[in-house]
């Protein structure tokens, strides 16, 4: 494979073979002169694309594109902008110390950028204060599976295994809207006679496909999992040979779920006992079965324990580490997987290494050419970092890449006030997002098709994004921006700007780590349409093939056994009461991605889904005197937001749903954090709703 083919310019008549800018499925696509065609050779989408993918190129030529740095809202040259930022950083850290400068990254950044951002924070800024929006994404699942399996790879099997399964339980995921081509794999499974069980408070598009829908009360997925496990054991589906040979901790877990008999779980979750039994029967009788979780189960102050309970269920049924079966977390953001492996997380170094592990520090410091003692320690987690901004103990400056927390962070009104209290806010983005609009300095960066880099999709498959278009004059890549700042901070030589050079360094930094990329090259990715990590570099001629199914021979724990860990249910951090009698939950719609900064600027998508809405049940709507199309106002203890009512029987009568792609629902969400993963409780808080008064009308 030639350098050109693997790296940059167009290599076929249909354009550059690359991947979609959005979700973790990373659908393969060709891009040529603004025209997109799906790739058949990428298993994740196998020729499919949703509307987001088809229209992705529109943002390349959007008039809203930023091409000039902005200093306090006025266009300036790159030198002026970077000089200003570097001078302010120097001044602030001279006065307040290195931790007064913070960095916030994103799960949509390429591996190269995520890696470079972590290195920039630790080496150029010497700050411990770096975290990223992936903390809001799959951190609970990551914490749980690291504990259970010793390794966090979202799906520890190729996505095509799903089509071969006989049963899938999907807790809190709505792939029919969030990553539609994923449904092809579920459809293939179902057309073979496989059965799908979906747990969700809403009858989502995904739940509608299911053979069985468990319409769980928001915030009670953990109780549901404990109930399913109780039944699995009682009804004789526990795989005792597997448990004895491949796991530890089953006895304690069995005892702990004795307190969660089905009738008790029914009262807590609202899921009928008969449905729970049927779900367990479907899983237990399947030859190959999978348990999957999504954000619905994970984005809770008990998300780690909830995922642990589903992992315990999968282990009890003997699924993980068996070909065709297993537990998997369906990652959300484009590089949600790779973004969590290479050091933009507060407690982490490249290769999924722990920052407080002396051996890990020594290895990475050697690659970076610094003294391990100069590496900062762990910093604050995402929400805690945002919450501390501009406070006496907190950072005074923030550099933000690939994120829009004014829309996406919990209790967003408070987060906006914290950003406002900073001495310096620098945002790198390609459009003027809500957060960029608040910044002292906005740095116009290149996007997706204008640069090369690698992404690691939800399967743990490392993919190559090729450059497919020239960036507009004036925009610079994040790697160039970091280099420019590093030069001004006196260490420019440590920050190459060529993605391939950064990747080669990442390979060395990750070597020997859990997420070992050292044997992966751009050429191999191109030739093999992706390589599964871990893939260590080999000394001899023979290349490591990559690892599609890492747990077949044993788990990544010291003794090779998976851990069952007893966990207990508890109510949401904020339960309903008389003043706030409804549960509020949030999620995605098909036409938009994340904070909507990209998709809200694409016309076919805003036509498909123009505005924020509030989904509510007809029983509730009847009491409020609301019909579809009315404006309603939703309140919580943290704020209020309006939206258009969508009255729909698919939601529980005690629950409201709002999509999170607009400023709105996150003004209301609860920042209560999971003690282990530091995941905020996005998926449930107590709320009230009322009809908005029309002009001249009084609403009692």
């Amino acid at each position: 494979m030639s350098q050109a083919a693997a790296g940059t310019a167009a290599d076929t008549t249909v354009g550059s073979a690359t991947h979609c800018p959005y979700c973790a499925l990373q659908c393969g696509m060709y891009v040529a002169k603004g025209e997109i065609t799906p790739r058949e050779d990428i298993p994740a989408n196998a020729g499919g694309l949703c509307q987001k993918g088809w229209t992705a190129a529109e943002l390349l030529t959007s008039p809203e594109r930023l091409t000039t740095p902005l200093l306090h809202g006025s266009p300036v040259s790159w030198d002026e902008a970077l000089d200003y930022v570097a001078a302010r950083i120097e001044a602030i850290r001279t006065e307040h110390g290195p931790d007064s400068v913070a960095v916030f990254g994103g799960g949509g950044l390429t591996n190269e950028k995520a890696y470079q951002l972590g290195k920039f924070a630790r080496v150029a800024l010497r700050t411990s204060q770096i975290d990223y929006n992936g903390r809001f994404c799959m951190s609970s699942a990551a914490a749980a599976v690291n504990r259970a399996f010793g390794m966090d790879r979202g799906l520890p099997f190729p996505i095509t295994d799903i089509a071969r399964a006989d049963a899938v339980l999907f807790a809190g995921g709505n792939v029919a809207e969030t990553m539609p081509p994923f449904v092809r794999h579920l459809n293939a499974m179902r057309s073979r006679g496989g059965r799908l069980v979906v747990a969700d408070p809403r009858l989502t598009q995904t739940a509608k496909m299911a053979d069985l829908h468990l319409q769980v009360t928001p915030g009670t997925d953990l109780a549901l999992a404990l109930g399913l496990l109780h039944i699995a054991i009682a009804d004789g589906y526990a795989d005792l040979d597997y448990l004895a040979a491949r796991t530890t901790g089953f006895e304690e877990v069995r005892t702990s779920v004795s307190a969660w008999w089905p009738e008790r779980v029914e009262r807590v979750t609202g899921v009928p006992v008969a449905h729970m039994r049927e779900a367990v029967r479907i899983l237990g009788e399947a030859e190959r079965a999978m348990v999957l979780t999504g954000r619905g189960a994970e984005q809770h102050a008990k998300g780690t324990d909830t995922v642990t309970a589903f992992v315990n269920l999968a282990l009890t049924l003997g699924l993980p580490g068996r070909e065709g079966s297993g537990y998997g977390c369906v990652t959300g953001q484009g590089n949600g997987q790779g973004g969590r492996e290479h050091g933009q997380k507060a407690d982490q170094l490249p290769g999924y290494r722990k920052i407080d592990d002396p051996a890990a520090r020594a290895h990475v410091a050697a690659v970076w050419g610094i003294d391990p003692a100069d590496l900062p320690g762990p910093g604050r987690s995402a929400y805690e970092l945002l919450d501390a901004l501009g406070t006496p103990e907190g950072p005074r400056a923030l550099l933000l890449f690939g994120s829009n927390p004014v829309v996406s962070a919990p209790r967003a009104g408070h987060v906006a006030r914290r950003l406002d209290a900073l001495d310096l806010l620098v945002v790198s983005d390609f459009v003027l997002s809500e957060t960029a609009a608040m910044a002292d300095v906005v740095l116009p960066t290149t996007q997706w098709a204008e640069e090369a880099g690698t992404m690691t999709n939800l399967e743990g498959r490392v993919l190559l994004r090729r450059q497919a278009a020239a960036p507009p004059p004036g925009a610079r890549s994040d790697l160039e921006i970091l280099r420019g700042l590093a030069e001004r901070l006196g260490c420019g030589e440590k920050f190459p700007t060529d993605p391939r050079a950064v990747f080669d360094e990442l390979r060395r930094a990750s070597a020997g780590g859990v997420a070992d990329y050292s044997g992966i090259t751009y050429e191999r990715i191109a030739a093999e349409t992706g390589v599964f990590w871990p893939c260590p570099e080999t000394a001899g001629e023979e290349q490591h093939p990559g690892t599609p199914r890492p747990f077949l021979d044993g788990f990544a724990t010291p003794d090779g056994r998976a851990r069952l860990v007893p966990v207990d249910h508890r109510p949401p951090a904020e339960d309903v009461d008389e003043e706030f009698p409804l549960y509020l939950t949030s999620g995605r719609v098909l036409a938009h991605y994340q904070s909507g900064a990209q998709t809200r600027r694409i016309r076919p998508l805003t036509q498909a889904s123009p505005e924020v809405f509030v989904e509510l049940h007809p029983d509730l709507a009847e009491r409020l005197g609301v019909t579809s199309g009315d404006r309603v106002r939703v309140r919580s203890r943290r704020g209020a937001a309006e939206g258009v009512a969508r009255v729909n029987v698919s939601i529980r009568p005690d629950t409201l749903f709002m999509p999170f792609h607009w400023e709105g629902v996150n003004l209301l969400t609860n920042p209560a954090l999971d003690p282990m993963s530091r995941m905020p409780e996005f998926k449930v808080c107590a709320a009230a709703v009322e009809r908005c008064a029309e002009d001249g009308e009084r609403v009692a």
Binding site: P38, G47, G48, L49, C50, Q51, W54, A176, E177, P180, P181, F182, V183, R184, N187, Q205, M209, Q215, T217, I233, A234, D235, E251, E252, R254, T255, S258, A259, W261, E263, R264, E266, R267, T269, G270, V271, P272, V273, A274, H275, V576, P581, L590, A591, P604, Q607, A608, P618, D619, E622, R623, V649, S650, R652, P653, D654
Partner: protein
């Protein structure tokens, strides 16, 4: 602080683990009359039925006590509370001083004073279960005395083991405290189909060798007799110590007895005139006491529990909650009865809130109704949806299955936001198969689920063309 807990059943053991979860330092000693680790009594009927094994009902692992620094005196009964010395005295003579004492002595089965009753087996403990299971292995017939929740579960379990069972009940219908007469009748018929013969309105006068004798003199075959005649709170220890006792040990909203250093929880406690015989109230009480004695929440109070009774018997779905026996004069009643199918559903509503319900026969309404009852949430104006949740919304669906009835505005392809109207327009400009429609509209190119629908629409349009031509 030294905490002593008397009773290691569901309430006592729950309290111990709740206290330890809140406070690592408080010194805890727990006495249990049974030599077993605490177990889940709710699951005993499953043990009798053979659907749970005895080691699956354990609530704590044996090592738990050592790992959590709790002294467990299992198989040791407490005989005296010396309130002056704040000390309990055990049957083996040992003395254990306390700063806080929690009584969780539970209840004991009511044994009717009839000749030969010693031949019968009560149904309360894991030991009882063992006896019943052993006897059932060789019994040619069994009688269960008592048609309450536990008696029905025992009878169903024995029938499931293939033992012919007769259930004898004093009252006119089964579970008369939870069910109205009609529900009791339908339940009786359902159990009948599962091999449980039921006699109501009968009095047992003696237990004979291989028979039970009724007051009428009639003999009923019984190699095995199980007593499920209700329970009474165990209050002797409290009574002896001079604590205020009526049916149970009297407690206030803090679950404190009239001695401020002594609490009582679970089935031995009487709160606001009520003694609860279910586990949920005992666990709620344990949580309040744990909050109070550790100081985790000094404002914690117990305000009584809403009772939901859920029968655990294979092939019999029954939930009963609240005030099920109110009449039309006293409340709004919504009822559906289909005796032939073993279905009975009844809602009791006051001031727009659910105050009672009976659900017999499988229904997906049970979860929703239990939660509405628990939370006292407002009910929708249309009550039928509550009884028949699976019918709700039927007919309101925007997209009809048939292409003829589907409106042009119906979204056929969700993934690419393509309506039937767009597919029609595409067909009108020449597209005659799915591939052509997909190329023009991108329909079917996302998840692919709408392929059949698009095919159907194109086929129908072609058919129409043929008809019109």
């Amino acid at each position: 602080m030294r905490l002593v807990v008397v009773g290691n059943g569901m309430a006592g053991s729950r309290l111990v683990s709740e206290v330890r979860a809140r406070d690592k330092d408080v010194k805890i000693t727990v006495f249990g009359a049974e030599a077993w680790q605490p177990y889940n009594r709710v699951l005993l009927s499953n043990v009798v039925a053979g659907t749970s094994s005895p080691d699956q009902v354990r609530l704590l692992d044996p090592r738990w006590y050592a790992e959590h620094g709790v002294t467990a005196r299992l198989g040791v009964e407490v005989t005296v509370i010396d309130r002056d010395c704040q000390t309990v005295v055990a049957a083996d003579g040992t003395r254990e001083p306390y700063d806080v004492l929690v009584l969780a002595t539970g209840s004991e089965p009511v044994v009717p004073p009839i000749p030969g009753v010693e031949r019968a087996t009560a149904f309360r403990t894991l030991d009882d279960c063992d006896r019943i299971r052993q006897a059932a292995a060789s019994a040619r017939s069994a009688v269960v005395v008592g048609g309450g929740l536990l008696g029905i579960e025992a009878a169903r379990g024995l029938a499931g083991r293939g033992v012919p069972v007769t259930l004898l009940h004093l009252a006119g219908h089964l579970m008369e405290r939870q069910l109205d007469e009609e529900a009791g009748l339908i339940l009786r018929e359902t159990l009948g189909t599962l091999g449980v013969a039921i006699r109501t309105g009968v009095t047992v006068s003696a237990v004979r060798e291989r028979h039970v004798e009724l007051a009428t003199g009639e003999l009923v075959d019984a190699d095995l007799v199980v007593l499920a005649c209700g329970v009474r709170p165990v209050v002797g220890l409290a009574d002896q110590a001079g604590l205020a006792v009526e049916r149970g040990i009297l407690v206030d909203d803090e679950l404190r007895t009239d001695d401020p250093s002594i609490f009582a929880i679970g089935e031995c406690a009487q709160h606001a005139g009520r003694v609860y015989g279910l586990v949920a109230p005992g666990w709620e009480q344990a949580s309040v006491v744990a909050d109070l004695v550790t100081g985790a929440d000094k404002g914690a109070r117990y305000r009584g529990s809403r009772l939901v009774t859920r029968l655990k018997a294979r092939s019999v779905e029954l939930a009963a909650m609240g005030e099920t026996q109110l009449t039309e004069d006293e409340a709004e009643i919504v009822r559906f009865s289909h005796r032939h199918k073993g279905t009975y559903r009844k809602l009791v509503i006051r001031d727009g809130r659910l105050v009672g319900a009976i659900l017999l026969g499988e229904t997906s309404a049970v979860g929703t109704l239990t939660q509405l009852f628990d939370r006292g949430g407002p009910l929708p104006g249309d009550r039928t949806g509550l009884l028949f949740p699976d019918l709700a919304g039927v007919g309101g669906a925007a997209v009809a299955d048939s292409p003829t009835r589907m409106p042009d505005s119906a979204r056929v392809c969700q993934c690419n936001n393509v309506t039937k109207g767009q597919i029609r327009a595409c067909w009108e400009s020449g597209a005659r198969d799915v591939e052509a429609v997909a190329a023009a509209t991108r329909a079917t190119t996302g998840c692919g689920s709408c392929r059949d629908a698009v095919e159907g629409i194109v086929g129908w349009l072609c058919e129409q063309e043929g008809v019109n031509a």
